[in-house]
């Protein structure tokens, strides 16, 4: 049975809020970076804030909250963390290689050339 958030002890509430704020704060900073950084290859780095400790912090907060408030271990959130971590590089490489291909074909910017065509 899940109790309401008011019944949570203060230290637990503080801990949950701490991780939740770290996670969502990093995700927000990542989003700001996504808006502010000048080039495509720099913008690629910003969302990884959200997919590393952004997700990590929110998952930790969720594990703590639901474990404490329903007094049984709730750890299935870890799966979210694992799958986000493992799938991010796939999208990132896809986007980055598409950008590299376009920049090389159009010869704009100082993108490193491929040493040899495969």
């Amino acid at each position: 049975m899940i109790q309401s958030a008011i019944d949570l002890p203060v230290w637990a509430a503080c801990l949950v809020a701490f991780f939740l704020l770290i996670g969502s704060g990093l995700a927000l900073i990542g989003a700001i970076g996504f808006l502010r950084l000048p080039t495509f290859y720099e913008r690629i780095h910003a969302p990884t804030l959200g997919t590393s400790w952004g997700v990590g912090g929110i998952v930790l907060a969720s594990i703590l909250y639901f474990s404490l408030s329903s007094s049984r271990l709730a750890v299935h959130e870890i799966l979210i963390g694992i799958f986000v971590t493992v799938t991010t590089p796939v999208t990132l490489m896809l986007l980055a290689r598409a950008a590299l291909h376009r920049d090389r074909a159009e010869r704009n910017g100082n993108v490193p050339e491929r040493k040899r065509e495969i």
Binding site: G33, Y41, H45, H76, M93, V111
Partner: protein, 158 residues
């Protein structure tokens, strides 16, 4: 019977985490996991060999610490701008690592550590193209990746 015991075990574990533990779900999950691992066997992927599995926690710890550190660094770069003399740039790095699983793990690590992105791996030339957000000098970076991660991954997998 079980071509990929580790995969089967993690699938059962995942099933139980998602559905809650009960004897019925244990049976159903094992059933699904065994069939899934047969399906995997039909694809015949290269089987990863863990040589020194006890080094894995060390690797996880290194990554954990680095992720926290570079999260802070990238957040600062975004909020304050880059310090003078630092630029973002591409980096080509030769790799000695050849095992596919180890390369995949290295790619996941370098991507999930904010501030560096794995762009392109050339299997015949055996080098990788990285993009680094806050590049001070290339040598330090290559050194860091090679000594911190590549050496450890080679010990674990090769």
């Amino acid at each position: 019977m079980l071509p990929y015991p580790l995969l089967t075990l993690s699938l059962v574990l995942m099933w139980l985490l998602l559905n809650g533990f009960s004897f019925g779900h244990l049976l159903l999950g094992s059933f699904v996991a065994i069939f899934a691992s047969w399906g995997m066997a039909a694809l015949r992927p290269e089987k990863p060999r863990l040589r020194k599995w006890y080094l894995l926690p060390k690797l996880f710890w290194l990554v954990f610490v680095d992720v926290i550190r570079s999260n802070l660094a990238v957040a600062l770069v975004i909020l304050r701008g880059r310090p003078r003399g630092h630029t973002a740039g591409f980096l080509t790095m030769p790799l000695e690592l050849q095992d596919r699983t180890a390369l995949a793990i290295l790619a996941v690590i370098l991507t999930s550590v904010p501030g560096s992105a794995w762009l392109e791996y050339d299997a015949s030339e055996r080098h990788v193209l990285l993009h680094v957000l806050d590049l001070i000098d290339e040598e330090t970076w290559v050194d860091m990746v090679k000594n911190r991660y590549e050496k450890l991954l080679m010990e674990i997998f090769e």
